[in-house]
Symmetry: none
């Protein structure tokens, strides 16, 4: 078995990417696809904490063993499923000024969070205690979008460090709106965020 000892506990070596030593029957990639699709579908149907590996296996037409051979637990599976999913790319910086670009990016970010990340948040929440490595990995997934997104904001009329500040403020405000306030991120809210929060913070010359 693919176990090794560390301290007194047996850990299984999970593949970061594939790790395949080349020998032996290779893994069937279609199984991954099926598992990810089933996981995402069930995630939106029943929510994260009602999501069971058993159900994912059944829906994907895959043996439970096949799942556990690849993923440590539910959180890791969901993380992989979300990562692999086709996240729509953030919008290209159009010809408009800073405000137009911010509006586009925030609008895209709000939709992204509202539609999909809610499952990731559950997985993150469940997994971060007790498995810091997994938590770090899920943060990496979240950051992936962030960097791609903040790249759209470099240059221009921005104060120094504006991109980092954007990444610090914008997602938090949007999540707060959705989860805590329980309200939709309509266009009015997007304009409010850009005009009343982001522009004052990011625009060069505003701050002393």
């Amino acid at each position: 078995m693919a176990y090794f000892r560390y301290g007194t506990v047996a850990y299984r070596k999970w593949a970061q990417v594939s790790e395949s030593s080349g020998v032996g029957r290779p893994r069937d990639v279609r199984r991954d696809v099926a598992m990810h699709e089933a996981a995402l579908a069930l995630l939106t149907e029943v929510g994260y904490d009602q999501l069971s590996i058993e159900a994912i296996a059944a829906r994907a037409g895959v043996a439970k063993t096949t799942i556990y051979r690849r993923y440590r637990d539910k959180a890791a599976l969901v993380a992989a499923a979300v990562e692999q999913r086709q996240g729509s790319a953030p919008p290209e910086p159009g010809g408009g000024g800073l405000r137009e670009n911010l509006l586009a990016v925030v609008r895209w970010l709000a939709r992204e969070i509202a539609e999909q990340e809610i499952g990731v948040l559950g997985a993150l929440f469940a997994g971060m205690r007790g498995d810091p490595r997994l938590a770090e990995e899920m943060r990496r997934i979240l950051r992936r979008d962030q960097t791609a997104m903040t790249d759209r904001l470099r240059g221009e009329e921005l104060a120094p460090g504006a991109a980092e500040l954007f990444a610090e403020v914008a997602p938090g405000v949007i999540v707060h709106r959705i989860v805590f306030a329980g309200q939709r991120c309509d266009d009015r809210f997007v304009r409010h965020v850009v005009d009343d929060i982001l522009l004052p913070l990011l625009r060069k010359g505003i701050r002393t």
Copy 2:
């Protein structure tokens, strides 16, 4: 049994407050206290998703049925426990200026979220699907602290609508720091939030 039919499903009538018709043995309030204390203690010890009703019952010295008689499920119990909890009050506005007051409030808010709300977030994620009423109630709990908190910031040298803006931005940034970035809210971070984000947004005359 205290069931009634709604559609094709049998629902149990859960008491919002007490519902007691006056007849029969009244519910022992100490049981509620014990349950809430056990729930909160275990919540911080093992986290939300490792939290089991079985363990709460054992810790509280209470029968499982007694819990199920009062709360539909784990999320509802956690919600009640959190609501009843002694939320430490936000600090009084001392004699210092706006910056000192902001620092105190943000420092308090960061500790509050890090230590306690983190469990509520789990309950919120878990319960909001399938029971919007519960989700709404938990949001109400969160809002309660927020309004109590923003009251500390009225008057002074604030721009109009500053309190609402604070409630919109501060918790989001803190949660983002803890959950997404996975970093502690040390004093350096608190000063950063106040100096680089809040003060520019809230100070009167800064914004055009």
Copy 3:
């Protein structure tokens, strides 16, 4: 409380008849009637082991405590209900000969057992272990019907001791038919029992 100590266990004194010491609010006899009716009805509906005190109380419109105040447990309640029940009297010995009388009695006995005693049997099986006194009481009830029944068969053309033999054989054969063979006691079976078993055994002069 109506408890007394025997060894280390607390026993409650249950009334054989009423025991009322005259002090306090008198028991409402209609509650007994309701409880008995509910018990008998549910007994034939769901069987003995599916019979729950909870259901009896609900059906009778009586509090569970009211039942426990009067009867030790399910078996005792069923025993009382059966005892009080209107057992249809065995048929009078008509003008016909021995065979006609036997046919009438066996037919009545078969219906009696099939419809009602079947529940008592469950109580008997369940209660006889652990409470021999209760078992003896239920046997007394069964015997009461038997003796009333065998009285119909005295005199006539019977061999000496025929009535006792009848009480020994007939119920056993009928119960065997119902419980072990799982078949109905139709008229063909009744004639078979009378012609092939009872008459050869009971008729005077047949036996040497």
Copy 4:
């Protein structure tokens, strides 16, 4: 999952004999042995209705789920345990005449019923309502002994149909003695049954 749909309800396929499709990890037969032994032992110790699956699992050193995976409920488990048990075979027809053979068989039957079947009777009685299939199965078990037993009585000086009559009368009379009359089946009673009931009924030439 080993489920199939019947009507609107999902049933689990329980193995009558083994049913194993050959695929998957095979069941450990020693688990069956342990469960049966524990069930029979506890059955005689505490009686059927005090018999709990929990206790059987503990005694057998087997997980509760392992029991529920194989048997629908308590009655099914007891039925299987009883069926598998080595029922002592009825005595061989010795060289003696009809009376000696009858005495031997009835004596064996009385002991069999008195010592062991009492638990089975309870199980049969409790389970036969509500689960006709189980009732039928337990009847099959009882019949198995009966046929083996009546085989000892064929030929000889018997009236035609005597074996069937024996199977119809003897068990009923014995059960009646034990359960209804609450008396032991001593040797005096055995002789009484043979001489006063069975011989008159079964002997060739007695009946017309």
